[in-house]
Symmetry: C2
Subunit: 184 residues, 2 copies
Amino acid sequence: MEIEKFLEIAAKLKSVRRQGWVERGVRAPESSADHSWMVAVMALTLPFDGNRDKAVKMALLHDLAEAEVGDIITKENWPKEGRMHEKEKVAREREAMKEMLSGLDKNMAKELVSLWGEFSEGKTKEAVFVRDIDVAERLMQAHRYHRDGNFSKPLEGFWDEKAMGTIKSESIKTLVKRIIGEGQ
Amino acid sequence: MEIEKFLEIAAKLKSVRRQGWVERGVRAPESSADHSWMVAVMALTLPFDGNRDKAVKMALLHDLAEAEVGDIITKENWPKEGRMHEKEKVAREREAMKEMLSGLDKNMAKELVSLWGEFSEGKTKEAVFVRDIDVAERLMQAHRYHRDGNFSKPLEGFWDEKAMGTIKSESIKTLVKRIIGEGQ
């Protein structure tokens, strides 16, 4: 695969509609690229004592595989007949990432696949930070659609106790609670 | 301004429709956040011998002011009655950036305003690189809409000689020509 091909596939992320919104009847829902941009801006600006440049790159790429495989909701995230298991989704995304990035310089491709793998495993400081932001950004956007009445199925589940509990950082949790509290 | 306020304003970039597409009757045009994400991905992956981390941050932020002031087409870019001059647009954007970023840590705000200023001036290696990509990404997206028949006013002007001439890097120009050539 060449770099032109990589760019053409990556650009598709601008047209991937976030499935969580689609399934709840949100009109003109944001794209996965919209969400990824906002996660990257948060990774750039929220207080953080790790490697920020690394976190920003991880944020930019965290949903890139969706340009190839789409935005898949897993059984673990929202149980429903016919959904894929988280493990299978990650395997598919890993293949897609490897394939997509093969048009880039070898070292670059290796670095980016490894960054994405680190995010998926969620063990390092940067991965925990970006995964927290990934959830926080989703909650904040759910709350905006809710506030604007832009939904046909309820969105409150996005910021219930269980959802908030998946955010590990207390300061990010507090920030999200402040934002959601204000708008209600 | 507090960080919550900054995040709420920044998130608006996901809903700012790119005015160049709107004025040419493109259906469901991409947002400025979509475009910014793609510019950042290109800044991360295209060959570059400058400070890549800096270029990626610059790319992420280059249109952030539009979350506050909207996507303004200037007289210089597309002459038409009532359009603003480039100089006035940049001044407005600078004010918006300063205001928006004032909720962040002082040093962070200073760094980001300065990064954005560097982009606007277009003199450093990183600024030239990101400005080239900004144009290249626009041409490539114009070409996709053209290919898909998604327009009511012609889009060819986006990749004519004059437009291509604004890209300074020969390798980026060649890449864009290869991509556009393939799709025609």
